[in-house]
Symmetry: C2
Subunit: 264 residues, 2 copies
């Protein structure tokens, strides 16, 4: 399992402040820290960037790429910002985060993936943008979305499916969490392709008051289960050591070959 | 998943000293602490007790039962000590830990299980006492041992199978760890019975120098995988919070029903 660090989010006050102040050094240092903590890629979650989308995304991409040489995961619904970021990304293959069956952005994002030969995250959401209620619905959406992207000229190997982990605080949260595991197990057979997958962990424990030790324990436990179900990438807080180490341990335990303590 | 605390081990210097000094208060306090930490049962690992086995086991059992009202898991190869412990156990159904196909103790331990209507842990070891090298061998041993115990009059519902988790430091350690997971998944079908299972975690990370954060992460990860494979009981250090909380989280995530933060 590989880690995409989700620490650069415009919704975080420190990130928003540094962006408003055009403080590139903040983002260079943040990127450096994420790489040092063991990130395999950096998610740049800029939000929709209604003002100067090209200039803003270029600012983020340049700063992060100055701080580290990891691939970028460009996380915005704004196609102009996405295009600017893809044009600027220079370390490995960038990831478009992301596309769904929602018609408003499907063609634009699929077109950018094809044009830049980028990886693209495909969210298993309904065309109305809702989280599906069970595994069967997720798999049906996956089949549609996968076929739709291929029809747009995206290579199957560029697609990374996100089955959408819901907050456990939702009424059906735990059942959904299990549906995500089932979806991951069945996807390769349903798509008849060993598709890569990604799951975002940050929402899992949001929305409920929890004891201090509950969040890392729940994230660790669920990451281990995701790993066992074959997840390729986890999108998470790379500075939260416990889940990261448990996921590393899990991957090492499940992978045939010589075990090494050097994973930590 | 339920927890059997393994903290009372005669091989630990503090335990050996307190036993030599006949310091019952040490064991009363230890039992109290294990119960408070969330143990569901207490393993009393006395070793073989060559001298005064009945008196010694009675001392341990009385002290632990004064400290808490949890069921006991009596962990000795000495049938005289085992018998004395079973006769003294008064909180719930005691567990005999344990029996294997090794002929020297098979009849004695099976006989005690039948006589006291106790639970009994069945180790998946070869008749020579060796750890099997793969899942198929473990399953063949399980079938023999299960049938053998039933022939001795032990009820199937009293048997708890231990597939034997090896140290990861062994050459085949990680492969064995995966064989244990496979064994757990296949056991109910092979035995045609929803047999309970137990795994001891303490050996997993022994024998190799490891970074400080590696041990709890590996134990947490493996516990999550064991939980996913259907393990009934984990025998572990109940004071090591991280793996215990991850196992609790995992069990809560996998169990249908309403999720509660109160598991922590």
């Amino acid at each position: 399992m590989l880690f995409i660090a989700d620490n650069l989010q415009i919704t975080r006050p420190s990130v928003a402040r540094a962006f408003a102040a055009e403080d590139a050094s903040f983002f260079i240092e943040l990127a450096r820290s994420m790489a040092k903590a063991g990130a395999d890629a950096i998610d740049i979650n800029t939000g929709p960037l209604p003002k100067n989308p090209r200039k803003a995304m270029t600012f983020f991409v340049d700063a992060v790429q100055e701080g580290c040489s990891l691939p970028l995961c460009l996380d915005t619904v704004n196609p102009l910002a996405m295009e600017a970021g893809l044009a600027r990304a220079c370390h490995g293959r960038p990831i478009i985060n992301g596309v769904s069956l929602e018609p408003s952005r499907f063609k634009a994002m699929a077109g950018l993936a094809r044009r830049f030969d980028a990886d693209i995250i495909a969210y298993l959401l309904t065309p109305e943008g809702r989280v599906p209620s069970d595994s069967d619905t997720r798999l049906a959406i996956a089949a549609n979305l996968f076929a739709g992207l291929c029809d747009e000229g995206v290579l199957p190997g560029r697609i990374i499916v996100d089955p959408i982990c819901p907050p456990l605080a939702w009424d059906e949260g735990p059942a959904q969490a299990r549906a995500v595991l089932e979806t991951l197990r069945l996807l390769p057979e349903v798509l008849n392709f060993p598709v890569r997958t990604v799951a975002g962990l940050s929402n899992l424990t949001s929305g409920l008051p929890a004891p201090a030790n509950a969040r890392p324990a729940l994230q660790s436990a669920y990451l281990a289960l995701l790993c066992q179900a074959g997840l390729s990438y986890a999108l998470l807080d790379i500075f939260c050591k416990e889940p990261v180490n448990v996921a590393r341990a899990c991957a090492a335990l499940l992978k045939p070959g010589v075990f090494s303590w050097e994973i930590f």
